[in-house]
């Protein structure tokens, strides 16, 4: 592969990935409204298109055409930069996420990810940790007490839970021995006793998985950890002062983060694209992608499900939960895993 083709392929892959991701984000919103609606015995969006399927499009148009308010007394450079930072870092991680094995198109062996880095997981963690700036800066630059409180809460919460999140992943890393997401997924191929998939979650990382899931919910500021935007306390938290497209950016960032988290959970704990393969060769080459998307969808559904069922924590409970429960649990998980690996 020459460098020219590499660049061309990369650009194409990037465009496709962005398109898919943004679409997924838009339809996650639709999904959420629909599912929550049904959970709450409502219909959710139904008017725009069949089952309201065109609702995201309408929302987008609405966001674009709404007046872009800039309140007085905001710190303008950061007020404008904050949503961009948020959405940029949210979309960044998709570049490192493999969604399947390589496929052959036009004689080129193209891996199904934008780039494979041997420390992909670390980079995703780093980028995710940078996402907090968007939230924090928006909260601070809005020059509003609700925003500020939201931003403070968000930064404290995200910094705190990042530790538990990172430690919960170490178990997986120890069993696999690599930072490369592709390696991690490949290590999960095959079955125990012929029928149980050799996924990490069945490979001793069940505790790690739950710690990861809970930390990830906190990282993405989702219920039950959505204190930074708790509407009953802080109006809308850090994006109280935002409107129109800037608000939409935060929205996109949140859902993109959710998708990233779901992807990571799939890749790290649920065997990524591994699943039963059958049928003709074309189907065989597409099935992994299907399995991957299906698993991600399940996680997205769980996100929404949790949102529809669980109440919100109090802030001190949130902190205590993170520091006093999740962190020790993650450490315990790490120690046990390390011992098991060392004894093998």
């Amino acid at each position: 592969m020459t460098i020219q083709t590499f660049i061309i392929v990369s650009v194409i892959k990037t465009v496709i990935a962005l398109f898919v991701l943004l679409t997924a984000v838009a339809y996650s919103v639709w999904l959420e409204r629909k599912v929550v609606g049904h959970i709450q015995n409502r219909w959710g969006p139904t008017r725009v298109g069949p089952f309201g399927l065109l609702q995201p499009l309408a929302d987008g148009v609405k966001f674009l055409f709404k007046e872009d308010l800039t309140p007085p007394h905001v710190y303008k450079p950061l007020y404008i930069a904050a949503p961009m930072i948020a959405v940029t870092f949210a979309l960044f991680s998709i570049a490192l996420i493999p969604i399947g094995n390589s496929i052959r198109i036009f004689g080129l062996n193209i891996p199904l990810e934008i780039t494979d880095v041997n420390i992909g997981l670390l980079i995703i963690l780093g980028v995710t940790s940078l996402g907090v700036y968007g939230v924090a800066l928006s909260g601070w630059s809005s020059n509003s007490k609700y925003s500020l409180l939201g931003g403070l809460r968000a930064s404290a919460q995200m910094v705190s839970y990042e530790i538990a999140l990172g430690l919960s992943l170490v178990g997986v890393l120890i069993t696999t021995g690599s930072f490369s997401l592709r390696d991690i997924v490949n290590a999960q191929g095959g079955h125990f006793w012929g029928f149980i998939p050799r996924w990490n979650v069945f490979h001793g990382q069940i505790v790690g998985f739950f710690v990861y899931l809970m930390s990830a919910y906190a990282e993405t500021n989702r219920i039950p950890f959505d204190l930074p935007e708790a509407e009953t306390e802080l109006v809308a938290g850090y994006h109280t002062e935002y409107s129109a497209m800037k608000f939409a950016m935060f929205f996109m960032a949140e859902y993109a983060n959710m998708i990233t988290v779901a992807c990571l959970a799939t890749l790290l704990f649920f065997g990524g694209w591994h699943g039963p393969l059958f049928g003709p060769p074309l189907l065989q080459s597409l099935l992994p992608v299907f399995w991957f998307v299906a698993k991600v969808f399940v996680f997205m559904f769980i996100y929404i499900w949790v949102r529809g069922t669980l109440p919100r924590f109090r802030y001190d409970q949130l902190m205590a939960f993170g520091w006093k429960f999740l962190l020790p649990l993650a450490i315990a998980n790490l120690v046990v895993t390390a011992l098991v690996v060392a004894l093998q």
Binding site: A136, S155, V159
Partner: protein, 173 residues
């Protein structure tokens, strides 16, 4: 060539960020400039093959330490810097001294460094090998550092805790 271009690009970002840190009067701008510097430095590390270091640079420095800075700036609601004239010494001696020192160092580095060159990815720092070093050769410093961090955490809590029955603030990285 590509190496040089990338180096210069990242270096330019670094220097720009550093200079911006100096020029900006609002601490939050300075902080963000510093984040930029650190990100660009992570890029430099990647160029040098120290990928793990680069990643950790982003996670720890940009993602944790600087967040802490921003957090504190927000918490204290630090405003625009005042232009007080507290120290003539700093201006009269410090800056000229600093300039002289750095110019001399740069001059020496550029004229006398010999043929030392670094190739792109010259020394791959795969996490495994670093871990080998860290947990074997540098095990004692590692453990001592962990104790240091523990002490720092406790110290920070004690220092920042409000006197009285109020809930102590949690702030760690």
């Amino acid at each position: 060539m590509l190496h040089l271009i990338l180096f210069l690009a990242f270096g330019a970002v670094c220097v720009a960020g550093a200079v911006n840190l100096l020029v900006q009067r609002h601490p939050i701008n300075s902080a963000l400039s510093l984040v930029v510097v650190m990100g660009a430095l992570a890029g430099e590390y990647l160029l040098l093959g120290a990928e793990f270091v680069g990643a950790v640079q982003v996670i720890v420095y940009a993602g944790a330490i600087m967040v802490l800075f921003v957090f504190v700036i927000m918490l204290l609601n630090a405003g625009v810097e005042e232009r007080t004239k507290g120290s003539r010494v700093a201006l009269l001696f410090g800056i000229p001294g600093m300039v002289i020192g750095s110019v001399l160092i740069a001059w020496v580095l550029l004229t006398r460094s010999g043929s030392g060159e670094v190739a792109i990815g010259a020394l791959p720092g795969p996490p495994k090998e670093i871990a080998q070093l860290l947990f074997h050769q540098f095990l004692l410093p590692f453990e001592v550092t962990s104790v240091l961090v523990l002490i720092a955490i406790m110290g920070a809590v004690v220092l920042a805790a409000k006197p009285g029955p109020a809930q102590p603030e949690k702030k760690e990285e």
